[in-house]
């Protein structure tokens, strides 16, 4: 059944290309990027599930003072142990707990509120557009980390509240993309036709604009949002405002390993740093690759 769907020509969606043709027309590097990104996303989800089920190679909290700062591979520890002899691989797996669900919350808020504001600004009159423009520019005036530090000083919030703030600061990007898309689509003949056959505004916006034409855009923004969530969470944990020891986060693992980096024991902080690098890179490449294939390629 899934195969049948691949071959269906979704002509009423305004695409000139079917799904499979879209893949065939894509540049090979875009496909490589998307493949790599999907692999990373899958790995993160898998780590999250493993962490939730508490399935680790070793207990991530168990200290082994006989095997402190073991090199990768020594004593069965695939990625070595940290300064207290705890298994780094297990702590990396557990570290995904720190950002995954909060990140999803931030993405949901950014997409939800951003879509709402974008639709209001794009579909309604000039006054609404100006009000939304003002709100969006107001949010954009604050550097995200400074705003979060302000929130931390005022409320001492948990990671979920911080991700709400991150979600809000991502609203402008989503809103402007949706607004631009709607202004582009508004004068298209298929929207005029939808109005002419008497569909109400809700159906036109939800089905014909958002579902048929903004779906891929929202998916792309979601993947980029996850990259940002990881960046913020690790930065905050690094600065000491996020996850606290002994609970692991990739950010505080880099921090606690940094002192030993100067002694030449590089893997303590390099392993979590590489995890951050590889994961953020994956989500960026996934988002931009999908963008090239679906948005840019789909229009040609």
């Amino acid at each position: 059944m899934g195969r049948m769907k691949l071959y269906r020509q979704p002509s009423r969606q305004g695409y000139e290309l079917g799904r499979l043709a879209l893949l065939r027309a894509a540049a090979p590097w875009d496909l490589i990027c998307v493949g790599y990104g999907l692999g990373i996303a899958l790995l993160v989800v898998l780590s999250y599930i493993l962490g939730a089920l508490r399935l680790f190679p070793y207990d991530p909290q168990e200290m082994d003072l006989a095997l402190m700062m073991a090199r990768p591979g020594v004593g069965g520890h695939l990625l070595g142990t940290d300064f207290m002899g705890r298994d780094i691989l297990s702590r990396l797996i557990l570290g995904t707990q720190a950002y995954f669900l909060p990140g999803l919350l931030g993405i949901t808020i950014a997409l939800g509120a951003g879509t709402l504001l974008g639709v209001l600004a794009g579909y309604h009159g000039r006054t609404t557009d100006r009000a939304v423009t003002f709100a969006v520019n107001l949010i954009d005036s604050f550097p995200r980390l400074v705003l979060i530090l302000l929130m931390i000083a005022a409320f001492k919030p948990g990671i979920y509240y911080i991700m709400v703030v991150v979600g809000i600061t991502n609203v402008p990007t989503v809103a402007s993309l949706i607004r631009g898309k709607i202004q582009f689509l508004r004068d298209k003949s298929f929207i005029e036709a939808a109005v002419a056959i008497g569909l109400n505004a809700r159906t036109i916006i939800l089905k014909h604009i958002l579902w048929y034409n903004c779906r891929s855009l929202l998916i792309i923004q979601a993947t980029l949002g996850m990259a940002e969530a990881i960046l913020i969470e690790t930065s905050l944990s690094y600065l000491g405002f996020g996850v606290q020891e002994p609970a692991p986060s990739w950010g505080n693992m880099v921090l606690s390993g940094a002192n030993y980096l100067l002694q030449g024991k590089f893997w303590l902080s390099t392993t979590p740093a590489l995890a951050i690098l590889v994961t953020i890179l994956g989500f960026h490449l996934l988002g931009d690759g999908l963008n090239n294939i679906l948005e840019v390629g789909g229009k040609k």
């Binding site: 520019n137 550097p143 530090l149 302000l150 005022a154 740093a273």
Partner: protein, 323 residues
Amino acid sequence: MRLSALRPVALLLTRELLFTALLLVGVSVVVFLILHLAPGDPFSLLLEDQMATAAVHVRQAAGDHGTWYGRYVTWLAHMVQGNFGTSIRTGLPVLGEIVRVGINTLYLTLGSMLVTLLMAVPIALSSSRHGTTLRNWPFTMFAYVVSALPVFWLSYVVIYFVLHKFGLFPILLGPSGDQKWISFLLPVLVLGIANGTVSEVVRHLQNEMSRVLAEDYIRTARAKGASVWAHAFKEGFLIPVTEIIAAKIPFILGGAVVVEQVFNWPGMGRMAWQAAQDRDYPVIMGIAIAAAVFVRAAALLQRVVYIMVNPRASHEESRSWGA
């Protein structure tokens, strides 16, 4: 240029100025509301075991009385006069402190923006001229990898290699222990490389440049043998570059918080970190407002360049929404 031709430009600039002023008022309301809604206040932290009367006295001395909008108006009036209050931790006036360290942050931010552009522009121009080919794909990939680097880790690696491995201490510190110019260069380089915006800058410049290169007027220029670069410069380079600078300044300011922390850089970011630790409200508030002013100034500058360069700007109603 006739004087009448300048009128729409002047009109637009006035509108931009008004919009910026309005946004700054909005910023002050947001900051004030956040701090107003905060449970407890810094004084409860300071006076934990003191008598209630002492608290009242300290609060009155700090000008803390009346309703919230009354306090907002008083607060705003003070700020307009340049009185941002005094730091609860150090007792020094906030504005003076922010100006003192703000210069350092300004230097760090602008310097690293320059480093980012020096890396991103050649990559973007190359791939917009030739399209993505096997030869320039590695460079684009490099931009992506660099943007995903955690900046705090890169800082440590750089410190490790420069100071410990190569023993470059003598270069960094003069004979009397004072820091030399090169130690100011390291944080700028690190933040410029790993602020996480390189790939986005490349992407934006590349998209805009290749869009412009496909325009009819470029084809005309090419056909009559004129310089393509000179014709594409304004729309394909100047406008996108100013756009992306204005859009990424907030992001780099955020990165500055981390880098200043690692390198012990006496800047606004470090001060913000300290203030968040101590719940030093006047300081973090002043920094948030200073950062917002900085961001708005960059955005205003971008609009000015856009209006000056683009003759169509005066016919446009809709404002650009950032990159």
